[in-house]
Symmetry: C2
Subunit: 402 residues, 2 copies
């Protein structure tokens, strides 16, 4: 593949290894109908009695490439040999450019060094190793009884999980049986990673895996689920805040909905509207585009739904009630102030006149543009996280093969 | 509304008037569930025995504004008075910013001058008058027997019709009865305006209207439908080519599909993928993103569908066959050349470092990035038109309330 030759950017090979293989593991994968070879292999791994390690590479995602499954299996076999496991105890994950071939010979050659550098003290090297266009590593933790859950995540673009995508590894010492662990993971992933979008594009590769070392008794499944949700919700917000070219995180709380699917659909329509994303980017309170995005979803999917009781708020302020805008000079000034306060950075004119780069490498705050949609129709609710659309996103994705 | 005061951009009031009111008229409207007041009024007009005129304003779309329907009706009444019609014989249309109030007093004051300047010789003044962010007026024509169909269109952003949106006025002297005329309009609009997208956002306001003066006999309904489809398909492509910030038009032909809805869904998913749009903008043959966009739609809507017989072509060249990429150095060079040939212009570094403006005001050619998706599953097909995503789109929509 030409670009592999032209752009020999550094690939990281990352290992996550348990002290002992565990039966208590689970994973959810992308819903994309062109899944990568590692996803095909990973789905098979779910039938195995135990899992002992995960091997991750960035830069090349191994999707629809000739010999892709064989390449993933060969890498698993080499990692297993180095760790004293069987190949079926190793979960492979690849992220990066779609279409290129995995440089499997070089990767196999790097396995002994990866095994030798395993570090029991910190997940930070792994959180850094799996990064692609991420600006910073993402690590979150929560306690459960005497134990804890630690999670790491990578992902900045091609980020709209359906149930789950991106690369997320959740490690716990809390002992939860396989079936309960998998059911909890599915439901928590849907409520967290399933409710974010940076660009509405669903990756072909990505994976959320949860592995338990079973060292600590589980106080209750409710406590475990609640801690897992906290870790996943925090990582999901980290992913959006670090999304490609993100200047503003948007948090859309939709409530008063007839069911949760409607609430999520409306939230996604708002955060994925290119026109509303641009308005937010420019700190322009063009709330007409917010109304458009809600009406577009409802008109396309639930044309009979009555929106006359819908109330919209931005930054806590009512902007539409009973089908009519409530706007004036003072309201517009307050909305501009709210958006400016949520801005992570302002664009800097690029040196070459064309290629914008974010001037920050770490989010300066955790604020968001707060949007509230009350449909006045029921009791279901959903909160969706998304982002604006900026020159930096265009530069990242038009001029650079990431 | 503050922005009405701060940005008193010129509003045009445009009249389209028949020599006599006609029973042979029809219209299709946006599916957005927050329709503008003129759409609410327009739907009522479809029940009237005859229509004699259309009144159109740009700049303010009269959506969810206090007293919106009353404002539209008052304008219709004033136009009717000037033309010797009744108010119910006038179709109102407004396009522009959502949320602002129609400056109806000023508009009523302008009606006499609009009536006095009616021009029977050309539709060009109307095609120019209805423009908002359009770079140029759009006029198309086709013959039917001894008669013809002439169409004008405006629309550059918030442009993904579901059945029909934007403002399009189709005028014919061919005599087609009302029911047949409306059925033909619905089906043609779905196949033309229903198969384009600039930004996946569905306008709250827009309208496609067809009016016949019934002066010339219709040779056959098939000939009429075919001519109408030619005019509408040409206008639809004009809308995309003039879309906000468009550097490349993409034409996605999906065939071998089990049904037309699947074909259209896949085509829309490709043209609406932010990541693929950016790759096309940068003349980067990142066809992995094309595969991602197809798999995202199929995985979300038809998870059981078999994609193993899918063949993808770009610029006539096979890039994926039997689930595997067919790429090499020479193929990538050819794809880059195809994309560069379809480019309308390259971005010019902006004077202020941040605000990009298109350096052209008229499309230099009619070429497109040609994509062909053969699913190998059936005989249904659909061609979808869309565009890339550029710095100019961000500048137009982030920094400027259009």
């Amino acid at each position: 593949m030409p670009a592999e030759v032209d752009k020999p950017a550094k690939m990281n090979l990352t290992l996550i290894v348990l002290d002992e293989p565990t039966p208590a593991f689970g994973a959810v994968f992308t819903t994309n109908a062109f899944p990568g070879a590692p996803v095909l292999v990973g789905r098979e791994r779910l039938r195995e009695p135990t899992l002992g390690a995960v091997v991750v590479n960035n830069k090349v995602s191994n999707v629809c490439a000739p010999g892709g499954v064989e390449a993933s299996e060969r890498l698993c076999a080499e990692v297993a040999r180095g760790l004293g496991l069987s190949a079926t105890q190793v979960l492979p994950c690849s992220t990066g450019v779609i279409g290129w071939r995995l440089p499997v010979d070089a990767m196999v050659g790097a396995v002994p060094a990866a095994v030798a550098s395993l570090d029991a003290r910190s997940v930070m090297p792994a959180a850094e190793g799996i990064m692609t266009t991420d600006l910073y590593p993402k690590v979150r933790r929560a306690s459960v009884g005497q134990g804890s859950i630690v999670g790491i995540a990578k992902g900045a673009g091609m980020l709209e999980p359906n149930l789950a995508t991106m690369l997320v590894y959740l490690l716990t010492d809390v002992d939860v049986p396989r079936d309960a662990l998998r059911a909890t993971l599915r439901s928590v992933a849907a409520r967290t990673f399933g409710c974010i979008s940076v660009d509405s594009d669903t990756s072909t590769s990505d994976t959320v895996a949860l592995l338990s070392s079973r060292q600590v008794p589980c106080p209750s499944l409710e406590q475990f689920e609640s801690a897992l949700e906290r870790v996943c919700a925090d990582l999901a917000e980290d992913l959006v805040r670090n999304g490609e070219g993100v200047h503003h995180v948007m948090r859309v709380r939709v409530h008063g909905a007839p069911d949760e699917a409607v609430a999520r659909g409306i939230g996604k329509s708002v955060v994925n509207s290119p026109l509303f994303q641009c308005a937010v980017n420019g700190n322009d309170p063009n709330v007409g585009r917010l109304v458009m995005a809600i009406g577009k979803y409802v008109g396309a999917h639930h044309p009979g739904m009555d929106l006359s009781r819908c109330t919209l708020r931005m930054g806590g302020r009512v902007i539409l009630q009973q089908g009519t805008f409530r706007l004036d000079h003072e309201a517009e000034r307050a909305l501009v102030a709210h958006m400016k306060e949520a801005e992570l950075y302002a664009s800097v004119a690029p040196a070459d006149g064309l290629t914008f780069r974010p001037p920050v490498t770490w989010p300066p705050h955790e604020r968001a543009v707060e949007l509230d949609v009350d449909l006045g129709l029921g009791s279901a609710a959903c909160t969706v996280l998304g982002s604006d659309r900026s020159h930096e996103y265009i530069s990242e994705n038009a001029d650079y093969r990431s």
